[in-house]
Structures are given as C-alpha cells and as structure tokens.
Amino acid sequence: MKKEILGLGITLCLFAVGACVALSLVYTVTGPTIAGLEQAQLEATLKDLFPEADGFEELVGVIKSESPSVDIQNTWKATRDRAVIGLAVKGSASSYGGDAAMLVGVGIDKKIVGARVVSLSDTPGLGANASNLTYFVDKQSKTTFPGQFSGKAVLDPFEVKNDVIAISASTITSKALTSIVKEAGLRSASWLDSNGGAK
C-alpha cells in the first residue's frame, strides 16, 4: 500500500518536472519579447499623450488614489527642457468584465490632454467599444469614448450621461473608465499644484 502511494507520487512528480522544464524553455524564449512589447507599447502611449515631451520619468508612490473604487498604479512625469509639462497616470477600476486600466495624461493647465484604454476585458461589441478606434460616441465629430476626455478640465463633474457620453448599452464600462479619468485628473492636478513650478 505504502509502496503504491510512493510509486504514484514519484510518477506524478516526474510528469510535473517534465512539464516545468518544457515551460521554462518556452518562458525563456518568449519572456524578453513579452516584456519588450509591453515596454514599447507603454512608451508609444506616453509619447502619443505628450508628443511635445522630450523625456518621461517614472514617479514612484507620489500619487495615491483617494477614491475607494479607483487604484492608481504608476505615474510618469512628462518633461520638456526639464520643465514639467504634465503627468501621465495609469489607473484601474473594476468594470463589467474585470479590472480595466487607463493611462490618463494631465497638462499643467489642469486639463486632460488625453486618455487611452490600456487593458479592458469587457464584452466585445459593447463595453469593448471603449478601446475600438472606429467606435464613435459622437459620429459627427468622430470622437471615440476615451477621445471625448481630451481638453476637459479636471474639475468638471465627469458624470456619465451628463458631461460624458456613454457607450450605448455599456453604462458600467463607461462609468468605470470615467471614474479612472476623474480620479487621475484630480490627483494629478493637486500634485502639479505643489510641484508644477519646480524644474
């Protein structure tokens, strides 16, 4: 009986070791590519938000969310000729299909320069339209859902169906993303207030 159990354990262990070796090989090959892709995408998004910036510096732990539903993960300071021209904040909130993350750029004039959806796992055709570049909340001006935040003052109310146009049939997604933009805007503005002049 004991021998049998030992035998089963050893067989199971051998299979697990085999699987681990195979997995670590695949991970070694794909790991750098995945990390590189993520970094490249982040840099491209930052550059997209602040095209005139010549440098980005990550700030660790200086901006914290004060809203219980929004989590602020990373912050980058966008600079030009070593003067701060704005902040980019990556925040996440719980949406319909899990956590959604956005990168929000705030200029020193306390206006949102832009917002980009970083990750979203909501329903394709509905909530996922937030990251669809051809889905327009305003068809006349071809404004996308995140696109409508550009140029808004951080002290605006940010209320869905009031000053923010919702994605049709996706109120939860719209509210979650809007809450990230609002919180990122408010916290960035207060940081810029106390540090904006510093070179």
Partner: protein, 207 residues
C-alpha cells in the same frame, strides 16, 4: 487508411464535440462575439488538444490509473501556458482580445474528455488524428457561430464592414442570449447534416 479517415471525420459532424457531445460549451458562447476571436480560440484549442493527446498517448502505459487525472491536467496546463505565452509574445492583439479564455483552455471539457476517453487507450497516431478532428470540429462551429453573431450584431465579418452603413446592429446577437440562440440553431443544423451524412454512408455500405 479508411479507419484513420473515420476517426478524423467523426469529430466534424457525427460526434462534433460542441453540437453532439455537448461539452466545452462555456467558451463557445463566450468567445464567439467576433470571428477573429473564434478562429484564435479554435486554433489555440486545437494545438493544445493535439499535443496533449499525443503526449498522453505516448506515455499511456506509464500513467498509473489512480493518478491519471492529475497527470492529464499537468500535461494540458503545460501546453495551454505555452500557447498563452507564445500568443502574448507573437500575437499581442489577439491575446488581448481573448483575455481570460486562453488560460481557461486548461479546463476545457473537450480536451479532458478526449484525453480520458480516447488518448489514454489508443495509439499515438490515432490520438493525433482524433485530436485534429475534434479540434477542427470545435473550430468550424466557433467560426460559424461567430460569423452569424458578428454579422448581425456588429455588421462586420473579421472587422470588414459587410452590412451597409445605415444598418443598425442588433445588439442581441452580441449578448449572451443571442449566443445561445445561434448555438441552438447550429445544433439543429448539425442534426440535419448528420442525418444526411448517415444516409449517404448507409447507402454506400449497402452498395
């Protein structure tokens, strides 16, 4: 040769995993809101089932009966993680839109079911053929359901606009209830197809 063809084709219609065996349904409703997701999920699942059946069949004599389920899961999970990592590295857009469904291939009942019912008893070649048949049977159904749902629910197929600009998408098809309805239509279509196929093969056998 004929035996191999029989093993291969049974997964397509007569024993189609989704429409006849009715296993692995969760993913089929969840990912079929766009054709590209359907193709991606189908191919990823086909890859995992093929290698899982091959490995299990190769080692079938070394797998003790009492510990077979955990060993199956280790093998399936290893291949699923490989697919997940490779997709993240080489098809980042697809990997993003598939989200949580790729890791969930681990618990796809079709793979577990075929490994248990077929690969653990049969020769490696037969197991691979069975896996390809089942994988293809799964993929065509996903693509079919996704095509109907994307066309009516979004007016596009593979992101290309098919319906005229003025077409107002019927959101019902993108939502889960629409998924179930299209799925039911596919089941009845497959039953009709199965009858035809069986009628043809009986005639052939008689002749």
């Amino acid at each position: 040769m004929k035996r191999i063809l029989t093993i291969f084709t049974k997964g397509l219609i007569i024993e189609n995993p989704l429409l006849m065996l009715m296993i692995g349904l969760c993913s089929s409703v969840a990912v079929t809101s766009s054709v590209s997701n359907g193709i991606g999920m189908g191919l990823a699942m086909t890859f995992v089932i093929t290698f899982a059946e091959l490995v299990i069949s190769l080692f079938r004599k070394l797998i003790p009966n009492d510990a077979r389920i955990p060993i199956f899961i280790i093998v399936i999970a290893a291949f699923t993680t490989m697919v997940d990592l490779s997709m993240q590295a080489y098809f980042p857009a697809l990997s993003k839109s598939m989200g949580v469904f790729i890791p969930l291939i681990v618990v796809n009942c079709i793979i577990m079911g075929r490994v248990e019912a077929f690969a653990s008893k049969e020769k490696p070649l037969d197991a691979v053929i069975d896996a390809l048949g089942m994988g293809l049977g799964y993929t065509w159904v996903l693509m079919g359901i996704a095509a109907v749902r994307e066309l009516f629910g979004n007016g596009t197929i593979l992101g290309l606009r098919i319906m005229p600009e003025t077409y107002q998408p019927i959101l019902f098809f993108i939502l889960p209830p629409g998924g179930f309805m299209v799925f039911a239509l596919f089941i009845s279509f497959n039953l009709w197809l199965k009858k035809r196929v069986e009628a043809v093969s009986t005639v052939r056998e008689a002749a």
